[in-house]
């Protein structure tokens, strides 16, 4: 006989773990299936973890979650060929009892989270790939097929938490394939290094950490960003650009990563580290307009699989955790009211998303992906111009300041017409408004 569950959760990333944990705590009979050797073994992130989203699921997570450093300083840098100009924000108030952001190592963090799911009472099966959704003649989902022998399992609802490739939904025609301009490919490395060097180079002590987000010359004009994050005894460095840009420009991702590591302002920060892993992963960057249908008869999609990712603010795991929690809470509520998990009732999940920061934030930036794509100057000319301007201004020579100012203005107008500049500023301001 085929075993039957209240819910099957496919995937054990942050979205799947949040869903399975919440469901199990709510007393439902849950099966979670993960294809990796363990939860986290397939997962890649920068990685900044936002405490609030997790706190709403596991309030005392700080007691035993594997956290690296809490972030006390955020830097945003525009890189020129051999320089950067940027902003730093550092505050001692981030050293509070309950810090707001941490760096984490996903393989360890996900494993910990998945332990919590098991403790809460869900049945977790790893090393098993779900190959397809089982649907009846009306299209209602009633279970999944896995690559195990006799690997069919049934449930009232299947929650797809299978990440950005979302093979299950795509193969069931519930979602179109990702267009290359709606996903970024990111590559990253982890460099192990003496913590004393981290403290010295980033001016931190104890578990304090610094994160740097970068734009500019290193992406070769492609739409993309780079990052350098401090962990306890390691640094994470990575770079990601839209797949469509990689395709068009003929640039290899690992070449960008090497260029970034060799950039004169980055190199001294990572010097002396030992590379222990190289990773690659996609990030859904299509924003609000790319979010597919998120639920139907007997199914829901959460996290990256539902394209819930805020590229403008580099938030993903918190949207994943929040959507996983909403999906679970929806099922718990329906169960209490004795309502069937048909599309009309599951629509409560969509409502919860719409009313939360998840969809509100995505909606706010709904035009940003197109603007970025159509305005390569944000990623090449502007970082260059601003670096040049700073260089000019901070070089003390025989030239008076007024002349310097004019030179800077001229350099801007030469690279991009005044109309272009104003237009860009306007477009960007609107996209962020």
């Amino acid at each position: 006989m085929v075993e039957k569950f209240d819910a099957i959760v496919v995937g054990a990333g942050p979205s799947g773990n949040s869903a399975a944990y919440t469901l199990a705590k709510g007393g439902l009979k849950v099966l979670q299936i993960e294809r990796g050797e363990y939860s986290g073994s397939k997962n890649v992130q920068g990685a900044i973890m936002y405490a609030d989203a997790l706190e709403r699921i596991i309030p005392d997570f700080r007691d035993d979650a594997p956290l690296e450093r809490h972030i006390i300083e955020q830097r945003i840098w525009l890189l020129g060929d051999d320089s950067y100009i940027g902003t730093n924000y550092r505050s001692d108030s981030f050293n509070s009892e309950r810090p707001n952001r941490y760096t984490i190592i996903r393989a360890q963090f996900d494993k910990w989270f998945n332990e919590k799911v098991r403790e809460a009472g869900a049945l977790v099966i790893c090393e098993t790939t779900v190959t397809e959704l089982l649907r009846d003649a009306n299209g209602k989902v009633y279970g999944v097929r896995t690559d195990r022998e006799n690997g069919e399992v049934h449930a009232d609802v299947v929650i797809m938490a299978d990440g950005v490739n979302a093979l299950l939904a795509r193969r069931a025609d519930l979602q179109p394939e990702l267009p290359p301009e709606n996903a970024a490919l990111a590559v990253k490395e982890i460099h192990f290094i003496d913590p004393a060097l981290i403290e010295q180079r980033f001016q931190v002590k104890g578990d304090e950490g610094v994160v740097i987000e970068m734009m500019g010359k290193v992406t070769g004009g492609m739409v993309g960003t780079a990052f350098l994050y401090t962990n306890k005894e390691s640094l994470t460095i990575g770079i990601g650009c839209l797949i469509s840009d990689f395709k068009e420009r003929g640039i290899a991702p690992y070449k960008l990563l090497e260029d970034l590591k060799n950039h004169p302002v980055i190199k001294p920060l990572i010097q002396g580290g030992e590379v222990k892993e190289y990773a690659g992963h996609l990030i859904p960057e299509g924003g609000y307009k790319a979010v597919p249908q998120v639920c139907g008869d007997g199914w829901m999609v959460v996290g990256d699989a539902a394209h819930l990712n805020n590229a403008a603010h580099r938030e993903g795991s918190n949207l994943a955790m929040t959507s996983g929690r909403f999906a679970a809470e929806t099922l718990i509520e329906l169960k209490k009211q004795g309502k069937a998990p048909v599309a009309a009732n599951l629509a409560l999940y969509k409502k919860k998303l719409d009313e939360s920061f998840v969809m509100k934030d995505l909606k706010k930036y709904k035009n940003l992906p197109e603007i970025m794509h159509m305005s390569p100057q944000f990623f090449s000319a502007y970082p260059d111009l601003l670096n040049g301007a700073a260089h000019n201004l901070f070089t003390v020579d025989n030239v008076d300041k007024k002349t310097k100012e004019n030179q800077i203005l001229k350099s801007f107008a030469k690279r991009r017409s005044l109309f272009g500049l104003v237009g860009d500023a306007f477009k960007l301001a609107r996209a962020f408004r």
């Binding site: 294809r35 990796g36 050797e37 986290g40 073994s41 397939k42 997962n43 890649v44 992130q45 990685a47 190592i105 996903r106 393989a107 360890q108 996900d110 790893c126 090393e127 098993t128 790939t129 896995t146 690559d147 195990r148 950005v164 490739n165 093979l167 394939e177 990702l178 267009p179 290359p180 996903a183 490919l185 590559v187 490395e189 982890i190 390691s234 797949i243 990689f246 395709k247 003929g250 640039i251 290899a252 991702p253 690992y254 070449k255 090497e258 590379v275 222990k276 892993e277 190289y278 990773a279 690659g280 992963h281 996609l282």
Partner: protein, 97 residues
């Protein structure tokens, strides 16, 4: 492009190899050789799994695959990549991620 040895990077990674069961394959070698001028898979794959062969086609070895999905997304015009995850438990197994 071969200045950077991707192999050296992949060497750091842990893989659980499913011998003789590649999870990704090229459907029709002729399409790569004749219909695809730019062959983006040969430079976009972060693990360098795809290489140009002498006959103008593309050769695929999935051993170092990071299971990112880029080659599937990039080959949509031709739809010439049959893309699957490896069997459960096999493939890349990140220690850090």
């Amino acid at each position: 492009m071969s200045m950077i040895k991707v192999e050296d990077k992949l060497y750091q990674n842990r893989y659980i190899v499913d011998e003789n069961r590649p999870h990704i394959y090229i459907k029709d070698a002729e399409v790569c050789a004749s219909n695809c001028k730019s062959q983006p898979c040969t430079f976009c794959c972060p693990a360098n799994c795809y290489t140009k062969d002498d006959a103008g086609g593309v050769n695929l070895v999935t051993d170092g695959c990071l299971e990112c999905g880029t080659c599937r997304v990039i080959c949509q015009d031709h739809g010439n990549v049959s893309w699957n995850y490896p069997r459960g438990g096999y493939g890349i197994s990140y220690k850090f991620g």
